[in-house]
Symmetry: C3
Subunit: 277 residues, 3 copies
């Protein structure tokens, strides 16, 4: 095991757990690198939701050991989009499609130190399915990287400028209000936005502020608080969530259900009153 | 690995598998205790359903090796509820919030041998999110316990009398009938009740009895049998399930769907006829 | 670990991940064979859907290392159906109920080299629940096989002719058309059929053909292409999927949702035009 370059493989996808796809990728990895340990980050990314996958990946990688991260949310499978391995300055590698999924995580891990195409036929399945590169190209690549194969052995280098741009949309602050979108709905129904605490602060929003919110076509007021329990059960509250993004929540209830909101819904947020001094 | 105090960490939560929360906790554990093996008991507990989580935990712990059990169903996160580590007489430790989630499992594992607060800042994340103690307090605690850190190193002792009471409601037998609630609905739609075989026996119910049931506002009759297949497909039957609780079922069909029942629905059960001698 | 006969246990079931059933089986295995590595193939098989389970298992086993495969989709639990261990010529073992679930995977692994009943009380739980043989009979058997217990130590041999037939229905080609059924719907809403490329070729269907399809009571036309992206977003296409079966798909959309189709729906497929030479 000491001979492995990476002992951990992080694995994120939109495969879900209903089919055998995730298990098959685990099997492919185990055949090539039997001693690597796979940590499933999540396989519950919405089908083909690259931005949602990029956000989950960037939120997770900092909490895992230095690793090969295998990430597959790949609506362009079978087209001419590239498969790539990205080396990060922190030492981890990211493997997946070139569609913006990997770059936010690479930034979180110190930035891109190099990138190569996955095109070496000796480092993929003998027969590559046009619909399942996770099994036939990406999982084998992750396993070979764990064993110590060098990124440059996979194929030609790719210039950073030639990579597809990061997939996470940026929020903006204009006219005293922050404008973003719901980027993720967690299982508790909390609505995570693209709005960061720093952006909110630039619009005069800080903990203790009462906020005027527009979520889609619904308007409401809620305090910006540290915890859900700052408001009564069922009441709305804005918090900084565990990914360090502002989230619109109901204490012990589902904001997504109550407001009928899905990923991509616009959110506008402005201070009604300043926090008490 | 021989130097680890626990090589297994059981992990139960209401995080679901849609988000990256479970994977992040695995990552946090792997960074602290890379050789510990995590067994995911389940992460499908209904959001904030402490009683349901307590029941799943007590049902599982006896089947795992001696372990640290990390359990997080935590509607009070960010409030002043305690985080605790409970030592059991059988040798396992339980880590999680003090809200009744852990105590039934502790009883199953021989009873409480000691309890301490999780308050040592050296044994948690440098920055603790007010909304994700699973990642920042409980997972690190479980990993440090696996490495051999003593429970008393985490904080002050807590007296058993000061802990929040166990979260599983008790069924009762009065007037020749058993009264309980549906405590869990499994994926097959079987309705697990809080009624134990012993309680049922005290009301004259035993295998072979024909029972009069009330489930919510629906009345039906069903035999108390050993297996589903004692009745025709689609017919109702009461069995002792794999958690040793009475469950209202339909053979090869979903009782939850047919009866429109959810967790918390009252169940009354009484013998119509005695079993044949 | 070198003393183990199998270091990998593949695990497939219809238990789902909402309850603690899967975690409990992992615990049972860890107590008997702590160094075995369990690869979860999937636990999302539809409740009691033996054919769907058989198909997922046969699709996965070739991608895993030589292993004990524990497979439990068991509508007849508690009846007199046998529990069995099947040895394959390739060297793997399959453990589960005798209901057709295991045989397609055994064929994929070189064919059946032997089969024995699981009836030795020393190799199962001391108390066997009539409703959870996964925990009490099958998981212990898989763990003991990993340790090196011989299949013949579990019980009497069973003749291949006495086993329940494989559970996957066969498609047919008649009158210039292929007739099969939807055997699985994946999370992207793709409709996998029982029709193989070879069967399709025998009816004159090959990549590039335009096809007339009937799916349930809906008629449509679609090309047989290599990849989804051969058609515009939202348009229908037939591809050979990653299990090497023909699938009816919409590019970047859900055919299951649009056509209102579930497993078991009949599919008829015939060429409208031949591919360009």
């Amino acid at each position: 095991l000491d001979a492995y370059r990476f002992t951990t493989i992080g694995f994120l996808s939109d495969f879900g757990l209903v089919d055998e796809f995730v298990g098959v990728c685990h099997g492919v990895i185990a055949r090539i690198a039997p001693k690597a340990r796979v940590i499933d980050i999540t396989h519950g990314i919405g089908a083909h939701q690259v931005a949602s996958g990029a956000l989950a990946l960037v939120s997770a990688v900092g909490y895992l050991p230095t690793a090969v991260h295998l990430a597959v949310v790949d609506p362009g499978v079978g087209s001419d989009r590239l498969g790539i391995v990205v080396q990060t300055r922190e030492g981890s590698c990211l493997v997946g499609p070139d569609n913006g999924l990997l770059l936010p995580a690479a930034e979180r891990l110190g930035g891109v130190a190099g990138c190569h195409r996955l095109e070496n036929p000796a480092l993929r399945a003998a027969r590559v399915s046009p619909t399942f590169h996770g099994r036939d190209i990406f999982a084998p690549a992750a396993a070979h990287l764990a064993l110590g194969v060098a990124p440059e052995d996979f194929g030609a280098p790719v210039r950073l400028d030639d990579l597809v741009a990061p997939a996470i949309p940026q929020a903006v602050a204009t006219g005293g209000a922050c404008r973003g979108v719901v980027v993720a709905v967690d299982r508790f129904g909390n609505l995570e936005t693209t709005i960061t605490p720093d952006l909110a602060a630039s619009a005069g929003v800080r903990v203790g502020s009462l906020l005027a919110l527009t979520v889609g076509d619904r308007a409401l007021e809620a305090p910006f608080a540290r915890t859900f329990s700052a408001v009564a059960a069922g009441e709305p509250v804005v918090i900084e969530d565990s990914r360090n993004l502002l989230a619109v929540c109901l204490n012990q209830a589902s904001a997504a259900e109550r407001l009928g909101v899905r990923e991509g819904t616009p959110v506008v947020l402005a201070p009604v009153s300043a926090p008490l001094p």
